[in-house]
Symmetry: C2
Subunit: 304 residues, 2 copies
């Protein structure tokens, strides 16, 4: 099984259109230690010719342009794609807006929880995905499905929150019991490789720790380095916890939370543009490496 | 007044994600006669520091990345944008999806007809544009408004159709009387420059011809070169007329329709990936030049 990092950044990408923080200024100034990253998505393949996307970022058209593996075969029919399926982990704009790029009557399978499918159904703009071609398949938690021959995925609830645009002051917007935010366990049924993809996670609770124990690879929520990062930089009033993301550092951070889990390969993905670990030569990136973590970058391929 | 071409291609862009026609193959092969183009949008400025976008394409984040004029001032505040306003000409995905890039509590004014605003309002995903920051202003036809100091825009109905995803078998989907598709007359109130922006138009009728007569510049619907282009290429069953776009060539095409209008500068924009005029060295591009037409390209700037 091969994993292609389509986008390593969180919502907004790196740089973010309206952000003028130190990180974003360095990218725009062309500092090679701050390589631009598109928004959160990965692609998975067994044979290199058929791909399953996990999440569809707003940058998907650009990501397809940057990765020839996802482009139509030049010896093939006049309309074609190697993208066979898309699996969504929540209804966040940075995970669903890319569906709007996948129009033009092209067949593929779309997998998401019922709540996420309901959100798509209630937004007519997603009707650009012609139902004659695009089948919307509800995912049930803890029930394996095969979005690609030889790839078996099991979705599970992770502590998280509903998408910002769906927040409702009359309702509970956080919950570990709902299927608003899910993680995916992705297995190669022939080769035996497997990994976890968890781009958003508010908390490492005991059931999640148990599930991840001794996993060969986890791609994990790397939104913020410190919980108050956006408040300190003057860019927002929300902590990581308020946004449904645990931070990399600190006593309740993900580096600490993974310390005893025995996960062989740990990689952060979904980095917010304020995260100092985006600096490939920075102290924070070095500290992560020292703690046994890698940081995903656009275009990276992982063979399992 | 300066006009920046953000995207010269029609919906899907050039190349289109799932298209393997001769044009798209040439772009992907790196043939320099077939430069890639992003999706339909322009930006207008008077002072070079404040910009109004006409349409928000799905590629808007990439377009901002490619055009430093639209990026935050590195000497300015930590969150900022030179984009002051966005004007929509219809609810097509290639004209509205880019609004999803413009989130993160940034203030700007959004102008569209009531019908287009209703479509946005009925799609909760556009709530990422926080109403505390983004004001949605209804445009009335034939009633000038100023989306930027010194820029006066007048919207007018053009023959067109509703967005594909809003088509309804029980309703009339074409019409010259509705405000589903509009054209814009854009005037520099100080400098006196003016031009028309009409990225979608199904037919040149007498009122439109009268309006455009002797205009200094028209940016016009260049979707298809010939009406049956997509049918011939095997990529679709729809003619240009069915899609609400008049073609460049032919007795009822736009080159012929503009012949007697005395428009000083004529430029095609919104080119579909099948259009042979995308080949900058091709016979069709040469024929357009001979007929007095230019073809817009990403990054082009026009000073009026």
């Amino acid at each position: 099984m091969r994993i292609l990092i389509l986008g390593a950044a969180a919502g907004g990408g790196f740089p973010q259109w309206n952000a003028n923080n130190a990180n974003c200024r360095e990218v725009r100034a062309g500092n090679r230690n701050f390589p631009a990253q598109t928004q959160s998505s990965i692609a998975v393949t067994i044979d290199g010719r058929n791909w399953c996307l996990c999440n569809a970022s707003p940058d998907l058209r650009q990501q397809i342009g940057a990765n020839p593996q996802l482009q139509p075969d030049s010896a093939g029919p006049v309309r074609a794609t190697p993208i066979r399926s898309v699996v969504l982990t929540n209804a966040d704009v940075d995970h669903v807006a890319g569906l709007l790029h996948l129009r033009e009557s092209q067949a593929f399978q779309l997998y998401a929880t019922r709540r996420v499918l309901e959100t798509l159904a209630s937004n007519s703009v997603f009707n650009v995905l012609n139902p004659q071609y695009v089948t919307r398949q509800p995912i049930a938690l803890e029930t394996p499905f095969e979005p690609l021959p030889g790839v078996r995925i099991t979705a599970f609830a992770v502590p998280g929150k509903v998408a910002l645009y769906l927040e409702d002051s009359t309702q509970k917007n956080f919950g570990t019991e709902t299927d608003d935010t899910i993680g995916l366990e992705i297995c190669d049924t022939e080769g035996g490789g497997r990994f976890f993809y968890i781009p958003g996670c508010a908390e490492m609770n005991p059931p999640l720790g148990l599930r991840l124990r001794n996993a060969p690879l986890v791609l994990f929520d790397g939104t913020l380095y410190t919980d108050d990062e956006m408040i300190v930089s003057g860019e927002g009033v929300k902590s990581g916890a308020r946004m449904g993301h645990m931070s990399m550092s600190g006593p309740r951070g993900s580096v600490a939370a993974f310390a005893g889990l025995g996960v062989r390969r740990r990689m952060f993905i979904h980095l917010n543009n304020t995260n100092p670990a985006l600096n490939v030569e920075g102290a924070e990136r070095a500290a992560l490496h020292k703690a046994g973590w890698e940081v995903a970058m656009d275009g990276m391929e992982i063979v399992l």
